[in-house]
Subunit: 204 residues, 2 copies
Amino acid sequence: MSTEKLASKIRKDQIVEAALHILGDKRVKKIKITEIASYLGLAPSALYRHFKNKDAILTAILEHIREKMYKNVERVRAKKDNAIDRLQELLTLHENLICQHQGIPRIVFSDELWGQEKIKRQRMYLIVRGYLLELEAIIREGQMKNEINPDLNPEAVARMFFGIVQPAALLWHMSEGTFDVNGHFTAAWPLFQSVLQVEGRCEL
Amino acid sequence: MSTEKLASKIRKDQIVEAALHILGDKRVKKIKITEIASYLGLAPSALYRHFKNKDAILTAILEHIREKMYKNVERVRAKKDNAIDRLQELLTLHENLICQHQGIPRIVFSDELWGQEKIKRQRMYLIVRGYLLELEAIIREGQMKNEINPDLNPEAVARMFFGIVQPAALLWHMSEGTFDVNGHFTAAWPLFQSVLQVEGRCEL
DNA sequence: AATCCATGTGAATTTAAATTCACATTAAGG
DNA sequence: CCTTAATGTGAATTTAAATTCACATGGATT
């Protein structure tokens, strides 16, 4: 893997990006080799120069997604140092992931990709769990600095955050991009924030 | 439709139930006619006596799901008269839907079924939206009776509730039934409930 | 009893898609 | 320049699954 030529690596990335782009297109369809190829102006058979088979492409997509999600966490950590701000920022990034950039959430939150092999489902599970752990870490830090109510169960809070994002992805996708993701986040955020509040604050 | 024989209706239901049962089985795979048939001890071709094609079966599954979900709402309304109790009860029913009864949430929350035709996705969207409206109605009633903070946006609250259920379904499914749905609901409920609280109550 | 119809079957057939293969083309390095 | 390896192509081939079809069978109706 590390020994492969740069050009090859680029082509592989192009293929993954193309696949992601197609998946992100509102009207669904499960992804077809033919589509990816024609999107890149290639013959279907060309893709087999770069990937053993379709499955390998799907696996690469998963890896790509994992990177994107973790990159978002890092970015947010770098940009804000308050836990609540970090979470809010993360919500914004998710909005992009859902609406703009290729239908990543569609993939994370759907069977489509990992339908066949148990292995891919497991991998996806690890990604999601890993992501939840990242959220938890942010929350715990916030609790230590008393930005977030320390009595709360961080795991539950992380999943509640996740529970803001996932339905948005579903509804956006089902609605063919009609659903107002931003509106949803805007309405959900204060509710979520009210959960985080440290006890004392509610007297004000 | 209303003129069809009873026996036929039964067979149709059996087919739908069988399909649902298979879908609910942990290891996924997109549903195959062959599987449904062999589950019922029939030849694949037999199914075509009852449904025009696979698509018709999928559509019937959607309708079946819709009924189940709405029935749950009715049941909850009948059993409890306090909004908060109703929601809590609904969570329990969702737990069943996820863990026991055939993988309904898998279907609702996944692309699998409506991959192809835009029509099925639209139908699913209507089901989900309708369900959210039911939740909203429960919440509004609770607000009128001051069981739930009337300042809250009922739409947002409904979606937050939904956001407890959906991730559970995803994680349960991804984890091959390992994920502790009950634990998740138990941890999430108090957080959710704290959102619902009427302002005054937090001073206690 | 004769007929009809709903339901079933197993053996094709169709279809859509992935995959393979024999053959270009091009660029890089000796 | 010649060789080689990487990348591409179009035309098969394979594969998995849905779907059709000609032919039972059994129970209800006349």
